[in-house]
Point group: C2
């Protein structure tokens, strides 16, 4: 075991793709080696890496945009990581959507590290696992690491808090409900992208969004970026704006604030992961537990007397 | 304060709508009165109530179907609760989608209790809050209590585990991605509903789903229910099937198993809610916390030495 672990750490150091994948799996399953793996990562790389969130409703072309952006970043010689957090099956444990297939264009490129992460079948732990995957990729020299997620749902929104910067992707013709979410979108997005600008309705959507963005302080934050991900149109400009905003955030201290808040999020999520099995084991003793809040408080009062007022 | 609380408990006992709303708010914010409120609920009603999950992607007509089902249930003299868990703004704290407006048809009916619950801006706690809302409504004589949620995202899927029975709503013409999720859908749904059967593609979708359902043991679980929620078509049949399956689950012991697992889920979620403020307070001491998993373990080892191996 100890030898296996040394080989794995050696593989991580050498940016070996299989070692990276295995390290992420071990940490995701909270294997006993998890902490050794995580504490031996190259912290210099972790700190300097750019972590980019890409979010948007199903069908806006997130994965195609990601793929197109990756092509651009590769042409600049950058090593890229992708953590794809998708609605997926608790049975297969993997992503069901066909989108992932499109990333296959980069499948033979050892400087594109891709990881899909299942969201179903867990209670919490997703931020912990995704954060760890980001850190493992970043330590292996990936920058940016892109976190791609469907922007619906509580955990998925939390995931976005792991990113230094977040791109929100929209597309025309996806119905009223997406339009109705615009107010919410503006709260979390650093950069807005209207994809499929070759489709009907793109101009109206862009203008609506630009109106809503008026008054934002950074030029790239008050702009709506227009792309056609399938052809690569607009991707260069978008990539420039990302680096520009990243530089602004790093010099203003915003970058550090976000990293700090993302660490807090991960720490709390790990704490839950570590406590959950103990709580569930305690509950096994109870044939039919009483009122849940009271049961939870009594359990904690017994197990963590320093933390809970009794 | 004590007098206020007594008045509130009295109001709950009398099924007063404002008291129910206020009790849910207090519990959702984990007010100091939360435990008193929750432990004083009529447990008989909580146990006997039917808890129904309705889930499906945006645009399938979930809210219209819920509204139509509520109309049917009201015609049978049933008192109905609705907990609507929606993607929503962390700023408004309420639901942004216009769907909620449709429930206004029941706004003046004191036997229809509606509660919207925001999902953004929380880390966990959603199952605890939604579970408590369900229990408060059930205690006040609502049966069924309907939990309506967008079926995308980890927390939203967890929410569905609070239900005794889950209806998955689909509609034709919503694109490949929804089709691709069918495998996942079949894992969580007890009853499948194809809504908007007056639209193109409904027949194909129904046939595809029926093929996928072959081999399910209960007749109502291997059937696809066809509805046009806007006109009420198919709702009577659906309501009969729900009660039929509910009776089967109650007599087979499946109902008790699900309630037990939902209690476990809520207890763990409450435990997290109770611990989180303490963990975050501890982290305030740290200028820049170290590796998250290690930090979490060390915090817990100090605060809950009985729970964590050091």
């Amino acid at each position: 075991m100890r030898n296996d672990l040394n080989a794995l750490l050696e593989g991580l150091h050498n940016r070996d793709a299989r070692s990276i994948a295995r390290a992420i799996s071990l940490v995701e399953n909270d294997h006993e080696a998890a902490e050794v793996i995580l504490t031996s990562l190259d912290q210099q790389n972790v700190r300097s890496s750019q972590v980019l969130g890409i979010t948007g409703s199903p069908g806006v072309g997130k994965s195609t945009l990601t793929s197109s952006l990756v092509r651009h970043l590769r042409s600049q010689g950058k090593r890229v990581g992708i953590v794809a957090v998708d609605p997926s099956s608790s049975i297969t444990g993997g992503a069901l959507l066909g989108d992932r297939v499109r990333m296959m264009g980069h499948a033979l490129d050892s400087d594109v590290v891709v990881r899909s992460m299942a969201t179903r079948g867990r209670l919490g732990g997703l931020c912990a696992a995704a954060g760890a995957a980001v850190r493992i990729m970043a330590a292996s020299g990936c920058s940016p690491v892109i976190i791609e997620t469907v922007g619906v749902g509580q955990s998925e929104m939390d995931i976005i808090r792991l990113a230094d910067l977040t791109l929100m992707v929209l597309a025309p013709g996806l119905g009223d409900e997406i339009q109705a979410m615009k107010a919410g979108i503006l709260e979390v997005a650093d950069l807005l992208v209207v994809n499929k600008t070759d489709c009907v309705g793109a101009e109206t959507l862009s203008m609506d969004l630009e109106a809503a963005l008026r008054g934002r302080k950074n030029a790239c934050q008050s702009r709506v970026f227009k792309t056609v991900a399938t052809t690569g149109q607009g991707i260069d400009e978008l990539a420039i704006a990302i680096d520009e905003l990243d530089a602004i955030c790093r010099s203003s201290g915003e970058h550090d604030r976000r990293r700090h808040s993302s660490l807090e999020l991960e720490i709390v999520d790990w704490a839950v992961e570590l406590l959950k099995p103990r709580l569930l084991a305690e509950l096994q003793e109870t044939a039919y537990p009483a009122e849940p809040r009271q049961t939870a408080r009594k359990l904690l009062a017994r197990l963590c007397p320093l933390m809970i007022d009794t």
